[in-house]
Symmetry: C2
Subunit: 320 residues, 2 copies
């Protein structure tokens, strides 16, 4: 990173990969200068509770409360409630631990009292001691829905049905974000995207994490206007995703499952793509696809590596 | 009890007192011949969860899962979720234990799927191994609301606010069951009340437990028609309630806080009142108030005593 004042940064974020990236970013930026704008397309209601998986993964990760083995849920988690719920014949496919449940109870009660998702998110972030600004991309409901590839008349399924219940083991042929046309960016989202020195697209699934952020009306337009200072980190390394179904989904949806495929998806609104050393041979093709390639180690196997990745990403689009 | 075949019994029930009475009753009746018709005026929503305190107290008591020290909640309960919720700044005044929460999650999810309260109640009763028939008095929402005596312009408060948050320490001047005019008896309620050999009004609070059962349209009418085979157990002994605010509420609402006051409240729809040995001097006054008095030990300090009380109550209105 250059020696000027630390930049303000807005990050488009999904779940685990984005959370790890943000944790590194907070090592190289002032937390107060960072705004994370988080996907809500995975949000759903179960047992009457409002569950926001990506917001919670970011919150738990940045507060060092995450379960380091799974990348989701709380460290030191217990399963009293879910075990009993299973005994009662209830739905226990979505693994809600006792500590995690407390957060969902809090969010649901506050929402029932009229608080918006972004208000509750701010309260939770403060309670967990987060110093960055954490925003859901929208306070309005957006539901990521997927159409299985087979059979030909397969009905759409909810994201959590696909991702958790079916362990993303089902090929999909379409992704849709129900409600997104009517969704408004949450307060502060467009302002952060418009005024931050740098916007980073975190290494998250392009279809089900970044897609439902960029497609909120107004978001893509702001990014397009400033694409030269928008840098994305490829979630695809060596033809596969580090974690989750991004690589498989790219193939199923007719895209090249590579950093080049990512460049083709992001070139319209982001000028620079950080790709892994393993993909250095693809740099020219990324460039041909319209994004300036930056080659580095993108595997965030430690906090130091995540911080180095964040510094490289910022450097790539920092002014002279 | 006479030596004939065991009678079929329908019981109007509130929470702790009714649950203890039912536990005794099941010792002297065939469980399949017993229908408990339970108050839902205390039901409420907190943290997005549908909570039915009286139904749950009956379920936990009859399945031997009740916390014997409190009379509510589960034995062996833990508090992982509520402790964390408190740490997050959430509402922890209503003591929801981990095992108890599992039941509320189950009920809420099933309700969100379209199941009625009586359907869910039946599922839960089966899962807890109950052999009696357990019915909410109505599948429709009924909300017990109380008006504090002071100040003169005090707004109504919810039952749980009064009962739990304020530990029934506030004097009240009015009780109302919001929604009851539009509530229909749950499937099976009127039939059970019409066809049971005996109807018992359990020793529960006359205002906030029995009131919102009897006032469901159609219930009182059925009882009035058969009042000679309706027997009530006085919840007031020696001028005070065994547990809870019944005695204080009688005074505050302008009634005599005694078995005689109970007789005046119930005489229209019940022919017989079981009163405690301590109140034997009141037998003539109970009779004057229009109910046939039966004097016995009504303190259910053990299962045997509860069974003896139940047998006495049934005997009092059994045919020759």
């Amino acid at each position: 990173m250059n020696a000027g004042p630390a930049p303000s940064v807005a990050v488009l974020a999904g779940g685990v990969g984005a959370a790890r990236f943000l944790r590194g970013l907070l090592r190289v930026c002032r937390p107060a200068d960072v705004t994370a704008i988080v996907n809500v397309g995975d949000d759903f209601t179960l047992h009457g509770l409002n569950i926001s998986p990506d917001l919670d993964t970011v919150t738990y990760t940045l507060s060092e409360q995450i379960n380091p083995e799974t990348g989701w849920g709380r460290a030191g988690e217990t399963w009293r409630v879910l075990t009993e719920l299973g005994r009662l014949g209830g739905q226990d496919w979505f693994r809600l631990g006792d500590l995690d449940l407390a957060l969902h109870l809090y969010r649901t009660q506050r929402r029932s009292e009229g608080a918006t998702l972004s208000q509750v998110t701010g309260e939770i972030a403060a309670r967990f001691g987060l110093e960055l600004r954490l925003l859901p991309v929208s306070d309005d409901p957006i539901q990521t829905r997927l159409t299985p590839a087979e059979p030909a008349d397969a009905p759409e399924i909810d994201f959590q049905d696909y991702f958790v219940a079916q362990r993303h083991g089902v090929a999909v042929r379409a992704v849709r974000f129900a409600g997104i046309e009517a969704a408004e960016p949450a307060p502060g989202v467009l302002d952060a995207l418009g005024t931050a020195d740098i916007v980073v697209v975190a290494p998250s699934n392009p279809f089900v994490s970044i897609g439902p952020v960029v497609d909120v009306p107004g978001v893509r337009e702001v990014l397009v206007q400033r694409r030269d200072s928008v840098v994305a980190v490829s979630p695809i390394v060596g033809g596969a995703s580090i974690k989750g179904p991004a690589g498989a989904m790219m193939r199923e949806l007719g895209h090249d499952p590579s950093a080049v495929g990512i460049a083709r998806l992001y070139a319209g609104f982001a000028g620079t793509l950080v790709i892994d050393n393993a993909d250095r041979d693809l740099a020219a093709a990324v460039s041909d696809a319209g994004m300036a390639p930056v080659v580095t180690d993108t595997i965030m196997s430690s906090l130091d590596r995540a911080a180095a990745l964040a510094a490289t990403a910022l450097d790539a689009v920092s002014g002279p």
